[in-house]
């Protein structure tokens, strides 16, 4: 697949909105672009088959090459039914409208406990790695009608697994969690490869681009690069700005780690904390020179009500897409280029974003958010007296060429 390295996109346009009946924590597109998955509050992975027309090529960029799900996945009858729609979409696009796309719900993956917050795809094999908040790590071949676990480790961590990362060659996984461990696994069979006890709750982990190190960060503002083969910390990064002890509460500001600028820069996403309880703080990105460990840029955007950057995706065009969840009703989608002083795009139209998934075509992204009016003290019952929960709209955006 050739990405669309358009570093100067126009304003993203929302082209689809679907609602998950369960609240979602983490959303990811498969590398083939045909599946969207999201971990939920209720021990499952929700799945959708993505069907529809790929976006039009950018006039000044290489064309998107994401596979067309209609061509590969639908039955012959459905393909026939879909063709007119496809033609219609192309016509619409010619008139300057956004692409049409459908999300067909698939049976969820079940058997998890608590929350499923950690999801990652193998870069080439059709494998999905998922982990829950009770410590289970699971590998599932996701492309069949009834996906079955390839392997499973019910006690990969003692409790909440917060993130999974996959090595660039797909051979290894890294996980981190509340038990204060980072662990490296063989992705083919789930056998342990290495582990490192850090001692405090670890919120994020990512492989370094060369695959020899993992970088992890805790809730107290400590980020470190671990040479997991040697079992040695290779480098430390001072992310103390992401932490604050407010009275009794350690506010854990870190939410995600990623690499930008061809792997030369590490970005840590989260919150510049103001106060605990009803946590408030300003969305923040910290950019570190990975070779030296030096902080190159501390970027904040928005207000204390805007809260955590909960998740990020690195666009092939070199910018960071961040989504935030602030006090109820507040959320933000933001595009930021490293080294720039301001976000070149942001929108506060979506409430309380939990995750962002970038489609491999680089032209679409999905944001898992929260229904409006999600908060409130006391009762809120349905007409038939049922106690109501919240749900997660999934907003699909297209980035204009």
């Amino acid at each position: 697949m050739n990405a669309v390295p358009n570093a100067n996109p126009g304003e993203p346009k929302e082209i689809k909105n679907i609602v998950s009946d369960q609240q979602l924590l983490c959303a990811r597109f498969s590398p083939c672009g045909q599946f969207l998955v999201a971990g939920s509050h209720e021990g499952s992975v929700r799945r959708w088959r993505v069907a529809g027309e790929k976006p039009a090529a950018a006039p000044n960029a290489a064309p998107a090459e994401a596979p067309d799900a209609l061509a590969d996945l639908l039955s012959d009858d459905k393909k026939k039914a879909a063709k007119p729609a496809k033609a219609k979409q192309q016509d619409a696009k010619a008139a300057g409208e956004a692409s049409a796309v459908e999300f067909a719900p698939l049976a969820p993956l079940t058997g998890f406990n608590g929350w499923v917050q950690a999801l990652a795809f193998h870069p080439s094999d059709k494998l999905l790695f998922a982990a829950d908040s009770w410590g289970k790590l699971n590998c599932t071949a996701y492309d069949g009608e009834s996906p079955k676990p390839r392997w499973e480790n019910p006690a990969a961590h003692d409790g909440w697994i917060r993130r999974i990362a996959v090595s660039p060659d797909g051979k290894l996984l890294a996980t981190c969690g509340r038990d204060g461990f980072v662990r490296v696994w063989n992705s083919a069979d789930g056998k342990p490869v290495a582990k490192h006890e850090h001692g405090s709750d670890i919120f994020a982990v990512v492989f370094a681009p060369d695959g020899t190190q993992i970088v992890f960060g805790d809730g107290l503002g400590k980020i470190a690069a671990l040479d997991f083969s040697a079992g040695k910390i290779a480098r430390e990064f001072d992310a103390a700005a992401l932490h604050k002890l407010d009275r009794l509460q350690d506010i854990d500001g870190l939410r995600a780690l990623a690499f930008v600028k061809d792997g030369k820069t590490l970005v840590a996403a989260g919150l510049l904390p103001k106060n605990g309880g009803t946590v408030q703080g300003t969305p923040m990105l910290l950019y570190f020179n990975f070779a030296s460990g030096k902080l190159e840029q501390q970027f904040t955007h928005g207000d204390v009500k805007d809260g955590y950057i909960e998740d990020i995706a690195v666009h092939p065009g070199g910018y960071v897409i961040g989504v935030s969840s602030g006090v109820p009703g507040n959320g933000m989608v933001m595009f930021h280029r490293p080294d720039e002083k301001t976000a070149f795009y942001f929108s506060t139209k979506i409430a309380n974003c939990a995750s962002v998934a970038l489609h491999p075509d680089g032209r679409r992204f999905a944001v898992a958010a929260t229904n409006k009016g999600s908060n409130g003290n006391g009762r809120r019952l349905s007409a038939d007296g049922e106690y109501l929960g919240n749900n997660s709209p999934l907003h699909l955006f297209e980035i204009p060429a």
């Binding site: 509050h41 608590g114 809730g219 009794l248 309880g277 003290n377």
Partner: protein, 427 residues
């Protein structure tokens, strides 16, 4: 513990006894002064005391005493077994789980206020019927009903983050004498200790002058204000003799670690010292529990710190024998919503929540009431705070259905007159 042959309410104060409580307290104080320290200590151990831990803002029942793992609103955490078979707590409370055989957890609280502004006061005053006067907080009520112990230390002490001083407003219509002496950040009030430049002789001379002026002042003022003023001064003098209570720096590192080197850990350690020294009612406040946002990471940070300190003090009180005569309570003004909002927080939920008790007069190892499968509502009978106040008074041997306050001749019930004690919670 009360004799199995009789019930707490059979030892209750009568109204007449209550009215004579001040004189009794004075007599005990005098005796305490004459007795050997061991005898005085043994006698004091039989006096009822209270530890009241207030988690301001609202601890989530689902992340503490009443977990609902693997349900819609259950959150990410697991439930763990406790020392009582079949009873589970959130995994955030491993140390308190080991103390469950000493605890009594009420999981069926159903109260009315879902706002802090009204909830804090209403819960701590026991939500009596409107009587046209502000009711006392629980600590002030005990200060009035039971007085100081033989130690002569203040009857009602409040250990809290932030500022300290004398907090008369807690006492409501009882008058400022029954307010709390607040130890801001666990430290004694400013200027409590005699200044180094002042000799004992000079201090005594000043006190003589103070007493003389006090008498003159009292002749022209309302009695309750001058009483309060003298009372505070007298108790402060007792505190001055016990500066060791507040000084955690000389305690063994192991003790400090066991309680946790956190705000609540160190405050709970001071609370233990105060109970051991004979303070009748010790309230420990912790702030910052109002987790409308990031509830789960917030509780993952907050609860273990509370858990460590709470379990340590329960264990220590049990080991020293004080738990037998000390009522321990841990609670907030309400619980938190089962529904998880978009800020990954939980809001205020007074309709189905929990508190924990231990010690004097309460049934150890008991779980009272239950919530439904999702934790949204109480299953059967819910208990309002009025019932809880009746329960506490009875646990302390005060017959809450007979004893009354005397508000300038107006008899007032000490707890909601339409409610009764939770008998399942009492021994």
């Amino acid at each position: 513990m009360n004799s199995p042959l009789c019930k707490p309410w059979e030892h209750a104060f009568s109204r007449r006894q209550f009215l004579g409580a001040s004189a009794g307290a004075l007599a005990l104080g005098a005796f305490g002064g004459l007795a050997s320290s061991r005898a005085a200590e043994a006698m004091r151990k039989k006096e009822k005391q209270v530890l009241f831990v207030w988690l301001d803002g609202g601890i989530s029942q689902l992340e503490s005493w009443d977990p609902k793992p693997n349900t819609q609103f259950g959150g990410p955490f697991r439930a763990i077994p406790t020392s009582v078979p079949g009873v589970h707590f959130s995994e955030l409370m491993p140390k308190s789980a080991k103390q469950m055989h000493r605890l009594c957890v009420v999981r069926s609280l159903c109260t009315k206020d879902n706002a802090h502004s009204s909830g804090v006061a209403r819960i701590q005053r026991g939500d009596p019927k409107t009587r046209g006067v502000p009711y006392p907080f629980f600590g002030s009520a005990i200060s009035k009903l039971m007085g100081p112990t033989a130690s002569k230390l203040p009857a009602y002490v409040w250990i809290k983050p932030g500022s300290g001083g004398f907090k008369a407003e807690d006492a409501g219509f009882l008058g400022p004498k029954y307010g709390s002496v607040a130890f801001g950040d666990g430290k004694p009030p400013d200027d409590l200790l005699r200044h180094a430049s002042l000799t004992t002789e000079a201090d005594e001379e000043r006190n003589e002058l103070r007493e003389m002026l006090n008498k003159r002042y009292a002749e022209q003022r309302r009695r309750n204000y001058t009483e309060a003023s003298s009372y505070v001064f007298d108790t402060a003098q007792e505190l001055m003799k016990r500066a060791d209570i507040f000084d955690t720096t000389k305690m063994p590192a192991k003790e400090l670690d066991r309680y946790g080197r956190t705000e609540i850990g160190q405050h709970m350690l001071v609370a233990r010292n105060m109970l051991e020294a004979g303070v009748r009612f010790v309230k420990v406040n912790s702030y910052g529990w109002d987790t409308h946002g990031d509830n789960f990471n917030g509780h993952a940070s907050l609860v273990p710190k509370f858990d460590r300190a709470f379990a340590a003090i329960v264990e220590d009180l049990a080991a020293s024998g004080l738990l037998e005569n000390t009522l321990v309570v841990a609670m907030s003004e309400f619980g938190r919503t089962p529904r998880i909002n978009g800020h990954v927080g939980r809001d205020h939920w007074p309709e189905a929540w929990s508190l924990a008790m231990a010690g004097c007069g309460v049934k150890a190892g008991a779980v009272v009431g239950a919530t439904n499968e999702k934790g949204t509502f109480v299953k059967d009978e819910g208990y309002d705070i009025g019932s809880v106040f009746h329960t506490w008074f009875n646990a302390l041997g005060i017959d809450s259905q007979r004893v009354e306050y005397d508000n300038h001749g107006q008899p007032l019930p000490i707890a909601h007159d339409d409610m009764k004690p939770i008998k399942e919670a009492l021994v």
